[in-house]
């Protein structure tokens, strides 16, 4: 019996020692960047394996170019990117970021997919003082916590509405859009969609619109008959639908069938992806407007971006996150170059002061600004582009510089 006890005790001891980290740090020969991605699980619907592949291809491309010049090492250092699958679980994401920080000893973090996971994962960045650049996480709550090691490339979601309403106003003033007076906002009860909806409600004044109804629906709602009935009675000129793709498609279908036909149907999130038109068909899809991060870019490292997209087999409007991921990774390397060092504090300082020309124009992170009633730090200023489905094709409408077509009123 003693043998059994001994064997088990020794086994446990060995396991413990094996788990202990033995830190051996040499002169930096590579830049280690790490993060997790929702390769599986609920969020994999919008991100999934493609997002991971995109990031890995980006590292490969950077290394083909010889890497990133770091002054302290006086050499171009290659990038070693580690991306784990967090299975869309915040708990697992935190475990894996801890692992990246302590076992893999990465120098910098890229953000995971979506706001809830970023909220948890960013605490690891804060704890170890590792700069984290998030891509799609755009809930102001994330940036309102006074964190010092976090910046986000995306612009806070409530501001999406500002660009869209600004366009609407300009078009109405120019007579290119019929004069709209009322708007009804539908928002799905998840952080991102509520943020988008917040903008839809609170920024309607920009376009001179009156909000006549605000309806919140539960996540993944399938039936809207009651809401559609109410809205038909109110007959708003514009419907602003802040939901995820599946919910938006279910809503648009039912609204169409039950005869709710607003003059303008705006579904900001994920309608401007190649898939959407096929999901709802031409009779609904035609004329829908939405918001995209993608346009026929005229600025920044656009050739590299287009080449990269091609390498992972993505067309322009296949997925919503491509340009954001690119900008987040690019901003990090620009900051490393600027700092001339892999020192995390120096790179963070460089990120705070970063100003450069990216796909969307000049990029900089702002600190201490107010968004959706919260004081936020480290939010990006990239643009979003209002776009529209016209004849089964996505056309970017605004700003005029990247526009591919003029706004067309929805067929009634």
């Amino acid at each position: 019996m003693k043998t059994t006890v001994r064997v088990i005790a020794v086994g446990l001891a060995v396991a413990a020692v094996g788990a202990v980290v033995t830190p051996v740090l040499a002169q930096p020969r590579e830049i280690k960047i790490g993060g997790t991605m929702a390769v599986t699980g609920a969020f994999a619907v919008e991100w999934g394996p493609t997002a991971k592949a995109f990031m890995e291809e980006w590292a490969k491309m950077m290394n083909e170019r010889g890497g990133v010049f770091v002054k302290e090492a006086n050499a171009k250092l290659p990038i070693k990117l580690t991306v784990y699958d967090d299975g869309s679980s915040p708990d697992r994401a935190v475990e894996l970021y801890e692992r990246l920080a302590t076992t893999d000893k990465v120098d910098f973090f890229t953000g995971p997919a979506t706001s809830p996971i970023t909220i948890r994962a960013s605490t690891v960045a804060e704890k170890y003082g590792i700069p984290m650049v998030t891509a799609e996480a755009n809930s102001p709550a994330i940036f309102a916590r006074g964190f010092k090691w976090l910046v986000g490339a995306d612009r806070p979601a409530p501001q999406w509405a500002e660009d869209y309403y600004a366009m609407a106003k300009a078009l109405m003033d120019a007579g290119a859009m019929p004069r709209l007076k009322t708007v009804a906002v539908i928002q799905e009860n998840t952080p991102h969609t509520m943020d988008v909806g917040w903008g839809g409600i609170h920024r309607a004044g920009i376009a001179g619109l009156t909000v006549v109804a605000t309806e919140t629906v539960p996540p993944n709602a399938a039936d809207f008959s009651a809401i559609i009935g109410k809205l038909k009675a109110l007959n708003p000129d514009m419907l602003y639908v802040a939901t995820w793709a599946g919910t938006a498609a279910a809503f648009a279908k039912q609204a169409f069938e039950l005869g709710l036909r607003p003059k303008e149907l705006h579904i900001p999130h994920s309608t401007i992806t190649d898939k959407y038109y096929g999901m709802v068909g031409a009779s609904i899809g035609e004329g829908i407007t939405g918001t995209t991060h993608e346009a026929h870019f005229k600025h920044g490292d656009k050739d590299a971006y287009f080449a990269l997209r091609k390498r992972v087999g993505l067309s322009g409007f296949d997925a919503g996150w491509t340009s954001l991921r690119f900008i987040a990774l690019e901003a990090l390397t620009k900051a490393i170059e600027g700092a001339g060092s892999l020192d995390r504090a120096k790179v963070m300082a460089a990120l705070r002061g970063l100003k450069y020309e990216t796909l969307h124009g000049p990029l900089a992170f702002s600190f201490g600004v107010e968004v959706a009633g919260k004081k936020v730090d480290g939010v990006g200023n990239k643009s979003v582009f209002p776009a529209q489905w016209q004849n089964g094709k996505i056309e970017v409408l605004w700003p005029p510089e990247v526009a591919t077509a003029k706004y067309r009123p929805r067929p009634q």
Binding site: M1, V20, Y84, D85, G87, E98, M194
Partner: protein, 319 residues
């Protein structure tokens, strides 16, 4: 329990107690989260293993613990208590979960088998809807933050969770030897018979559910204080209710050590797949297939399979 088993228990606990300074922070976190799973699994087994009820809502107590603490810590009056605030809010959280268990016991224990399982699962979803919709209290889908000064480090949380886990497993061990446990099993085998000899079924079942709710709620409190942020999917997610039964069944229900092994095995599989084997195809695919294979090959759970039962060491724990 013979000496051998006692020695082994003490050695295991001793090793777990000296481990943290040696562990990397990742492993510390993995172990801490595993202890939380173990607490839920052991608590789940009180009802399944000893009272014969499949409770698919064990996570409700976890979620309540997490939510009540966090909500309390966001109240200015509680914050003013300083260091005491943690103790007060943790106590209130655990007590409210126990009260919830006591109140829900009345309708729930009218039911048996599949119906009991479904009713408990409904509770989780109902709590989720309330957490989502009562935004002023719970933060809605945005979730709630724990004020940073109340954070509990993973190092401390590890020890508290270990203690709660030991209490949970210890309680199951107590049940396997005590008159209370005997009463439970009487009820499980023959409820009417037990009733006729004076074992009031509802009373004993309520005792079981309430006692099983307390450590789970404590686990939830710890989780919230360590994570610093909760939302309906994080604190009240279905997997917190569905994985513990799986872990218990895998290990073997009603066997004291079953939940321990079940939790360990699932957590090891999960960690190996997600941390080490970075397969080009999703880890979840293999995780699922492994679960399926286990269910088909070891029908009664590990600790009940004849081969394991033959080991005298384990027999010392089982009843």
């Amino acid at each position: 329990m013979n000496r051998r088993a006692a020695t082994l228990t003490v050695v295991t606990i001793g090793v777990l107690a000296v481990l943290p300074p040696l562990l990397s922070s990742t492993w510390l976190l993995v172990m801490f989260l595993s202890f939380l799973w173990l607490i839920l699994t052991a608590n789940y087994d009180v009802l399944d293993g000893f009272l014969g009820h499949i409770n698919l809502g064990q996570g409700a107590f976890f979620g309540l613990g997490a939510y009540v603490t966090t909500m309390m810590l966001n109240v200015a009056a509680v914050q003013a208590l300083g260091g005491l605030a943690l103790v007060v809010s943790a106590l209130v959280a655990v007590v409210s979960a126990a009260l919830f268990a006591a109140v829900m016991a009345v309708p729930l224990f009218r039911l048996k088998g599949l119906y009991f399982a479904i009713a408990t699962l409904i509770l989780i979803f109902l709590l989720q809807v309330f957490a989502l919709n009562l935004g002023d209290l719970t933060g809605g889908s945005y979730g709630l933050y724990v004020p940073p000064r109340f954070f509990v480090s993973t190092f401390v949380a590890y020890y508290v969770a270990l203690a709660v886990a030991i209490v949970s497993v210890g309680f199951n061990f107590y049940l396997s030897r005590s008159t209370l446990g005997l009463a439970f099993r009487c009820l499980k085998e023959d409820e009417e018979g037990a009733d006729s000899i004076g074992l009031h079924p509802l009373r004993y079942k309520t005792i079981g559910l309430v006692l099983a709710s307390v450590p789970s709620a404590a686990g939830g409190v710890l989780f919230a204080l360590n994570a610093g942020f909760i939302d309906p999917t994080i604190a009240l997610g279905v997997e917190r209710s569905l994985l513990p039964p799986l872990m218990a069944l895998l290990g073997g229900t009603g066997t004291v050590l079953g939940p321990v092994f079940g939790t360990a095995i699932i957590r090891i599989i999960e960690t190996v797949f997600f941390h080490y084997l970075r397969l080009p195809v999703p880890s979840m695919l293999f995780f699922g297939l492994t679960l399926m294979a286990v269910a088909l090959l070891i029908p009664a759970g590990l600790m009940r399979s004849p081969r394991v039962r033959r080991l005298s060491l384990f027999r010392a724990f089982s009843s």
